[in-house]
Structure formats: C-alpha cells, structure tokens
C-alpha cells in the first residue's frame, strides 16, 4: 500500500489516499473523490494527473509506479 497526496479539482485542501498495488488508477481517483465528498460532489468522468501528465486509468498502481506521498490531481472531464 502506498500513501499518495491527492488534490481534487474544486476542493479546498489535500487529502491522503492509500492506494493498494492492485488498485487501478481509476479506483485511486474514486478513492480521492470519496475522501473529499463532503466538499466536492464526485465527478462522473475525470482524469488523474501525475507529474503534469494524465495517467491511463486502466493501469494498476503496481504497473504505473508511484513514489511515497506523490502528488496526484483529479480533474473533472466535462
């Protein structure tokens, strides 16, 4: 399991997301939205940005490879 620092578009602060190696990137994004749901309604469609680039949502955490407390941003796709 790896903790990531997540920022949801429209939210007011950063939240820790604990990603399992078997999680898909899509699931990581949904975990962040769930953690922030008190302040931002979850998005139907979104992209997850890491180091300035969108990440393939079908990838798994194990294959993609995040660093400890890497920053991820989840942005609404309209």
């Amino acid at each position: 399991m790896i903790p990531l620092l997540g920022f949801l578009e429209g939210d007011t602060l950063g939240v820790l997301v604990f990603a399992q190696e078997s999680d898909t990137i899509d699931q990581v994004g949904r975990k962040l939205m769930q953690a922030a749901r008190m302040r931002v309604e979850p998005f139907a469609r979104f992209e997850l940005i890491h180091q300035g680039e969108p990440v393939n949502l079908s990838n798994t955490v194990e294959i993609y490879g995040f660093g400890l407390l890497d920053r991820i941003d989840v942005r609404h796709v309209r």
């Binding site: 602060l13 950063g14 922030a36 931002v40 920053r71």
Partner: protein, 494 residues
C-alpha cells in the same frame, strides 16, 4: 527637583563597567545573536517612548483596575450566556492561542533583558517581560470564570499541552519565534513584524468587532493588552535601526521569513473571527479590508522608513488574502471535531456579504459550501458525523497547517524529495523558509508523519480522544447542529 528630561537619559543608559570580562564574553553570539557591528554601535540604541519603572507600575495599575471593573460586571451578569455561540467560538480560539504563547514571550523578553547589547534595550525588555506575564494572566483568569458554563473554555489553559493539530502548528511557530530566538531575531521577528505589524490588526480590529457584538470582556481584554504592545513593540524598530546599517540583507531575510510565518497564524485566528464567527450584521469590515489598512498600507509604510523591500512573495500573499482563510475555514468545518470550538455554516446573508467582499475567490469557494449544505439537508439534525470528513489530510512540513494554499482549482502544495525523505509544503514561501534553515526544522514530525510511523492513530475517533485530548463535550460541532432555518431539509429531526 530635577525635571524628568534632565535625568531620564542618565537613568536609562546607566550601565555596568566590567573590569575583567570582554563585551564578547558578556554577550556571546550564541545567546545574544551574531552582532553585525561593534558594541559601541549598540550604545546608540534609542526607544522613542521612554518610561521608568515607577511610571510603568503606575500606568499598569490603572489598567488592571479597568480590567477588574469589566471582569466584575461581566461575571456578575453572566453576559457570556447572552452572546451568540458563533462569536464565542472566536473567544475560544483566541483564548487558547494567546495565554501560554504570551508566557513564551516572557521567556524571550527575559533573554533580551540579560543578553541585549544595550542597557536601555535590556530595561525595555524587562518591562516587556512584565507586560507578557500580564498578557498570560488576563485571559487565563477571565476565561477560567467561563469554564463552569462551557467546558470548551478549558482549552485556554489546556491547548498547548495537547497534540491538537492547531496546537502542533502554533507551538511550531511560537517556540521558534519566542523561545529559541536570540534577542536580535526576537526584536525583528516579534517586536517589529509580529507586534508592530500584525497585532494592530488583531487587537484594534477585533476589539471593534467585540464591541459591536456586545462582548465587553473580550473587548477590554484585547484593548488593554494592545496598550502594552504599543510600548514594547518599539524595541523592534530600535534594534532594526542599528542592524540595518551593518547587515541590511539579514534584516530583510528576517522580515520576509517572519511576515510569512505570522501571516499563516493571523489568517486563521483573525480571518475566522472576522469573516465567519462575527455575526454578519455586526461586521464593520472584512478581514481583507483590515489587512489592507493595517498591513498593506501601514506596515509597507514602515518598511519604507527602514529602506526595506516588500517580501519577495508579495504577489502570493496578495492572492492568499482573497483565498486562504476561506479555504482553511471550509476545510476545518468538515473536520470541526478536531477543534475545541464550534463552527457555523455561512447562510444566505453571510454568503451575499462574502461574495461582495471577496469577488475573486467566493465563486470558487461557494460550491464547497453548497455541497456541505446539501449534505446537511439530507442528514438528520444533530448527526454531526454525517457531515464530517474521516480521511487523513495533509499538512505542511514548515507551518504544520493543512494544505490550503493556492485556489480550489489549483492547490499550491509542493512535494519535495530530499534524498530518502519526502517533504510536503503548502506554498513556495514555506518551502523556501524550511530550506534556508533545514537543520532547524528537519527533526520535527508533522501529524501525517506521526501517523505513518505509528506514533499517532490513523482512526478519527482515536485521533480525537487519545491523541488530541478532546472529549465529546469539548470537540467542535456545528453551532446549531445543522438546524438552520434557511436549509431545505428533506429528513425529519431525530
């Protein structure tokens, strides 16, 4: 009898003549601070407002009588029971932040009272220490009388002895500012930046709000404290005058660092009080308007007098003036149980006021409140944890505050790798301050680090009760349990 003007300078400059110790031995750099100039330059130290111990005692005695008079009338009438619960949250927030921080200032002043390099400076610092002792005692005494009505006021004495996240942040700031700084840094950071700059905002601005809401005790407390600040804060300018001539780069660096660190504290303490805890009909101005008058206008004028530049991050600060305390308040609302005071949801009239006063930021902060309000409308009245976060949140490795820099569209948090160590900063100024003096800050563990290494629990309940020391009666709730008449509730009450 000699006129006062004939002897005051002889009195304030009366000093020991040491026969067998050098100035360096009496005032070693490691305690007195590295001096950029010879000791003779320090003997030019001059404070604009001169006072004697006799005059000091006479003046302070009168002030104590005034505080006592208000205290007697207030506790007789139990007037705190007539104040709105949201205003009382401002009193509880300030009540906890102030007193033991003031006691830390006693220590800092006493260090200057021995290790300041001029006798007039040492005398003023000694009186400053007496001032700060008074500033410790007044809120402890006044708020102790309120504990029997409301146990949250007990945090006036308890706060700094807990691992509450706000206490971790406040201790980090005040320990460095007041306890560990040498007299030169103390004078620039505390007397000049913190007291001359920010406490005017706090005590003059906030006392006007206290008067408007009908809280004479809080008004008298902070007004009385501010009269002392005006006297001992002059130490800052007098030290700055001398250091500036020899090492202007050091002065600029200290002003830059301590302005930012002070901004972090005041944006929360005073921003919350002015823009959220004061009932909207009683607000005389916004937090931003007070900052523009007392900081942007007056403090910048003072910087110009000493030929200092605006801090390098000024544009970041101006943006934060619009956004920061709103982002922290909305975030803290959804984690209100981690505080020892209650929070209020801004209603339609509050939101109209906020939209008018913060036209740039409110459109992006308002949707967060819309979500919170919708959640309350679908939640039973009084079910606090139905509208409360449970995820672990991030903190800045420097200021120890939640990561609320930037805007809701783009948070300014930075993740930095330093060999095997990962650090998180809320902003580039915090990152720069940390990296300029890494040895000073690197050992401290923020709250998330403590959770990740097993020193603090990751579960919210355990965190509240076991780690932060909050009981159910004390932890923060919504001021009315979510029962706002303007909400369109879809469920029945419990």
């Amino acid at each position: 009898m000699l006129e006062r003007n004939s002897w005051i300078n002889l009195l304030r400059k009366l000093d020991w003549q040491t026969l067998d110790r050098s100035a360096d031995a009496l005032f070693p750099d490691v305690v007195s601070g590295k001096s950029p100039c010879p000791i003779a330059d320090w003997h030019q130290w001059d404070e604009p407002y001169k006072t004697t111990f006799f005059e000091y005692v006479k003046g302070q005695h009168k002030k104590e009588d005034e505080v006592e008079a208000v205290f007697e009338s207030v506790t007789r009438l139990h007037s705190s029971e007539q104040l709105s619960s949201q205003w009382l949250s401002a009193a509880k927030l300030h009540g906890a932040l102030l007193p033991l921080a003031e006691f830390a200032a006693v220590v800092g002043n006493l260090r200057a009272a021995r290790f300041g390099r001029d006798t007039a400076w040492r005398n003023m610092a000694l009186l400053g220490a007496l001032d700060e002792l008074r500033h410790t005692q007044i809120p402890l005494r006044l708020n102790h009388a309120l504990v029997k009505h409301d146990s949250q006021f007990d945090w006036t004495q308890k706060f700094y002895r807990t691992n509450n996240w706000i206490a971790i942040a406040a201790r980090h700031f005040f320990d460095e500012l007041l306890l560990t700084s040498n007299p030169i840094e103390f004078a620039i950071a505390t007397n000049f930046v913190f007291e001359t700059g920010f406490t005017n905002l706090q005590f003059i601005g906030l006392s006007a709000f206290a008067s408007a809401v009908g809280d004479p005790m809080f008004e008298e407390m902070i007004t009385s404290i501010q009269t002392d600040e005006a006297r001992h804060s002059q130490i800052g300018g007098a030290v700055l005058d001398i250091v500036q001539k020899s090492d202007p780069a050091y002065v600029q660096a200290m002003v830059d660092k301590w302005f930012w660190r002070s901004w972090r504290l005041f944006s929360i303490a005073t921003g919350f009080a002015m823009d959220y805890f004061t009932p909207v009909e009683k607000r005389t101005a916004s937090f931003k308007e007070f900052m523009e008058e007392w900081i942007i206008d007056q403090f910048l004028s003072m910087l110009a007098v000493y030929k200092l530049e605006k801090p390098w991050y000024w544009n970041i600060f101006l943006q934060e003036l619009e956004y920061y305390h709103h982002m922290v308040y909305a975030s803290a609302y959804t984690y209100r149980a981690t505080a020892w005071f209650d929070f209020v949801v801004p209603g339609p009239s509050d939101q109209a006021w906020l939209a008018q006063k913060y036209p740039e930021s409110w459109p992006s902060v308002k949707p967060v409140w819309d979500t919170i309000i919708r959640t309350w409308e679908n939640t039973e009245v009084g079910f606090e944890f139905g509208v409360h976060g449970s995820a672990i949140i991030g903190f800045c490795h420097l200021c120890q505050v939640v990561l609320c820099g930037g805007t809701p569209q783009h948070n300014s948090a930075i993740v930095e790798r330093d060999g095997p160590v990962t650090r998180i900063f809320c902003s580039t100024p915090c990152q720069a301050i940390f990296n300029a003096d890494k040895g000073r800050y690197a050992v401290h563990k923020d709250l998330v680090t403590r959770v990740l290494v097993g020193e603090a629990p990751g579960n919210l309940m355990a965190m509240l009760q076991q780690y932060m020391g909050l009981s159910y009666d004390e932890w923060g709730k919504d001021c009315v349990g979510g029962d706002y008449p303007w909400m369109k509730r879809r469920t029945t009450e419990l």
